[in-house]
Chain length 112, copies 2
């Protein structure tokens, strides 16, 4: 997952409607038509949200007859979650170190 992909993934996740689409895909695949009736926006608006999610690798679209079937692509979200968790761990580790240092200073205020 490179920087450009992270841009796309986090940007895609920054919209409540798109997160809602992903949430509704948890219960299984949905057509564009079904998604349009789930959310109170026009069909073209749904199509554009899906293109954003698709570009980010967060959903897959597949033509089936005249319908388009949408499914969640778990791996990409998992990668983004790992990235975020990695940073949190990284920060936390350093904060723990800082805490150790500060504790030592408190124990020996003369700096020995």
């Amino acid at each position: 997952m490179d920087s450009k992909n992270l841009d796309l993934v986090f940007s895609a996740l920054s919209d409540a409607t798109r997160r809602g689409i992903l949430a509704s895909l948890a219960s299984g695949e949905r057509t564009v038509h079904e998604l349009t009736s789930d959310f109170d926006i026009s069909q073209p608006a749904v199509s554009r949200h899906l293109r954003v999610l698709d570009s980010a690798g967060l959903v897959r679209r597949e033509k089936r007859g005249r319908e388009t079937i949408v499914t969640a692509a778990t791996e990409t979200a998992a990668e983004a979650a790992h990235w975020l968790t990695h940073y949190v761990d990284f920060w936390t580790a350093h904060f723990d170190q800082m805490d150790v240092i500060l504790t030592k200073q408190r124990e020996r205020p003369d700096g020995r």
Copy 2:
């Protein structure tokens, strides 16, 4: 973490410069001036990125004399990571179920 906060957090994380700022804060606090020399953009641009990160709750700013000290706020990123992980788990669970169903169908193609 409500929907509006998720908007702010993911939107803040969708910019490579802001992720870079967060990364550089892993090694400890930095002043706005230091961050400005780290990244090849103007000081006002850095200030605005910091305001975005601050609004999302991803950093804290503290005036110290004429300097502004910036530190990472781990908790918020952790919450976003948890949100994302939760969804991944949720999806994965359903996909696993689907997989079970599909496997059973493969084992008994007559649908018994």
